[in-house]
């Protein structure tokens, strides 16, 4: 503790997950997430890990479901195309109550796209790319340090609610190197009486997501909705920067939050009162972060054609005061570029 190491995002995340007691990893190589399975493969012998490179992301997402069903901490890491393949299993894990952790490292889509930074999978991660009424917690770090801390929280939150949790990263966060103080080792400490372990000494456990008539299936869904309502009520996370006196509020998460912080600094130096709302939980969307900011002008900046901006518009009282600026293709705007956009708003 206290010692800092200069680590790549993916590597720091993998090491932090291992320290959280996640001994099981099933993954398929895909840029920009491959360093995570590579790290697990390298450390498997030394740390007593189980690493399997599954044949497809479809298989890997179902493998983590299986290990999660036995009550063990387990993770996969992927990028857009692989995350798309895993959506049926996301729906399944949420329905069956399987606490696996999914790391999604965004890159520009749609389709194969590029392997640079993007935030174009917000809708998919946050609204849920799988079918049916379900939700998953989505946590979005903005630094390698925060990624190390949040990935450990992911396992606890997944177990607390018996639901999969998504850690939403992007190519920039994954590949950049920063100084980090790695978190310590954590122990799993939760009720596992529901897990599939062989029914010695207890009633047998059955996990199925196949309905048995409308009455049973509606009750099943209402129970799920109750679970999601609890998450929504208790797990909003955000950080606000200089919002109290601000006239213009930037809204950004992940890599873009780092850019926005730079733009905010430039703006303040130029005498403009600019603040930043940085969502950390994207689901549940941190509605509380916007309390008291109803009269402000918002500039939402994302590496996409505009996805989180819709949730900002749903949250604030005057959606006509919500503006958007984004880049596509893998370009990450500079703080100066965002500062120009702030000036263009013409807010005094």
């Amino acid at each position: 503790m206290g010692e800092k190491v200069f680590l790549q995002g993916n590597v720091a995340l993998a090491e932090s997950a291992i320290r959280a007691g996640c001994k099981y990893f099933f993954g398929y190589p895909i840029t920009p997430s491959s360093e995570v399975p590579e790290y697990y493969a390298r450390k498997a012998q030394e740390e007593g890990l189980v690493f399997v490179q599954g044949e497809t992301e479809v298989a890997c997402f179902n493998m983590i479901a299986g290990t999660a069903a036995t009550g063990k901490r387990v993770m996969t890491a992927t990028a857009g195309p692989g995350f798309s393949l895993g959506q049926e299993a996301m729906s399944y894990m949420a329905a069956a109550g399987l606490p696996a952790v999914v790391v999604e490292v965004m890159r520009p889509g749609p389709a194969d796209g590029e392997i640079l930074a993007s935030q174009g999978d917000y809708f998919q991660a946050v609204k849920g790319g799988g079918h049916g009424d379900y939700n998953t917690l989505v946590l979005a770090p903005c630094s390698v340090q925060e990624m190390c801390e949040l990935i450990q929280d992911c396992f606890e939150l997944a177990e607390k609610y018996r639901n999969p949790v998504i850690l939403l990263s992007d190519a920039l966060l994954a590949k950049m190197r920063e100084n980090v103080e790695l978190p310590g080792r954590k122990e799993q400490n939760c009720d596992l009486s529901w897990a599939l372990t062989g029914c010695a000494g207890r009633k047998h456990n059955v996990m199925t997501t196949c309905g048995d008539g409308a009455a049973q299936w509606e009750k099943f869904n209402l129970d799920l909705q109750e679970k999601f309502a609890k998450i929504k009520a208790n797990e909003e996370r955000w950080e606000n920067y200089q919002t109290e006196d601000a006239d213009i509020i930037l809204v950004a998460y992940g890599s873009m939050a780092r850019v926005a912080m730079g733009a905010m600094k430039l703006a303040r130096e130029a005498g403009l009162k600019v603040g930043l709302v940085r969502p950390i939980s994207l689901w549940p969307f941190p509605v509380k972060a916007f309390e008291g900011l109803g009269d402000k002008t918002f500039l939402v900046t994302e590496l996409s054609a505009g996805q989180m901006v819709e949730d900002v518009k749903l949250t604030v009282p005057h959606k006509e005061n919500v503006y958007f600026y984004g880049r596509l293709g893998g370009f990450v705007p500079s703080p100066k570029e965002i500062f120009e956009q702030i000036k263009k708003l013409g807010v005094k």
Binding site: M63, T67, A200
Partner: protein, 250 residues
């Protein structure tokens, strides 16, 4: 009175959802007998598919999970890698394994996963109402091959037991059926072998069971049993295609 046959202990009281005369029912019963005899109930996890046996998790007083369509071998990989000392059974039909889940079963074999796989081949998609399966016979009429399966549009039936036998990661592959009392006994023997093998660290054990599907084939149960002899066995011969004696432990 001496008990010659009693309903297996591990069974719940739930009435199965299978049609009268379905081979699933016979195989489910054999599995239950083996669970009782081999004392696997408290030591195992059953992995069920999407198909006619989708509700089988309700029939056994045993830990169980119903997988997504085709994914049972992947789910079972996650379970068995986590709990290598526990008994893990994968049970799939032809839609689940040979169509939706072809990658998953092949790669479970590639990785030589140490679990027992039971494949119920009735040459049709039963649960969804009788559509063509990859295992449907040439010329066989189904709801999606109303003029009979033709090679030009739908290719050839798939012989899974032979394919599995060719995989180094598979230590045992046999095809059996349940259309006579003797063959039911032989099926139980094959299942028992497959169940025992998963603890010898030799890889995947595979039993394909040709099953009558009276409803899907449009036949009375006894006639469906005859159809297994007359039409299925010529294409899907019975026998052991790989024996575990040939395979060393990993």
């Amino acid at each position: 009175m001496k008990t010659i046959y009693k309903r297996p202990e591990v069974f719940t009281d739930v009435n199965t959802s299978y049609c009268g005369g379905c081979g699933h029912g016979i195989v489910n019963k054999l599995i239950a007998e083996l669970i009782d005899e081999m004392e696997l109930r408290e030591k195992g996890i059953l992995v069920w598919p999407i198909g006619c046996s989708v509700y089988a998790d309700k029939y056994y007083k045993m830990d169980a999970i119903c997988a997504l369509h085709g994914r049972a071998p992947a789910l079972a990989t996650g379970i068995k890698r986590s709990l290598p000392d526990k008994f893990v059974m994968v049970y799939q039909g032809d839609g689940d394994m040979v169509s939706e889940g072809m990658a998953e079963i092949m790669h479970a074999a590639v990785r030589a996963e140490n679990f027992s796989v039971i494949f119920i081949n009735n040459a049709i998609y039963g649960m969804t109402g009788g559509q063509m399966a990859p295992t449907t016979l040439l010329g066989q009429v189904t709801s999606t091959s109303p003029y009979g399966r033709a090679v030009a549009s739908s290719g050839y039936p798939v012989n899974m037991a032979e394919i599995m036998a060719n995989m180094p990661g598979v230590c045992y592959s046999e095809r059996v059926t349940v259309n006579t009392p003797q063959r039911i006994t032989a099926t139980k023997k094959a299942l028992k072998k497959a169940f025992e093998l998963q603890f010898e660290n030799k890889g995947l054990s595979f039993v394909e069971v040709l099953s009558p599907c009276p409803t899907g084939w449009g036949k009375k149960p006894i006639d469906a049993m005859k159809m297994v002899d007359e039409q299925l066995i010529p294409i899907y011969p019975l026998g052991a295609f790989k024996s575990p004696e040939e395979v060393p432990a990993k």
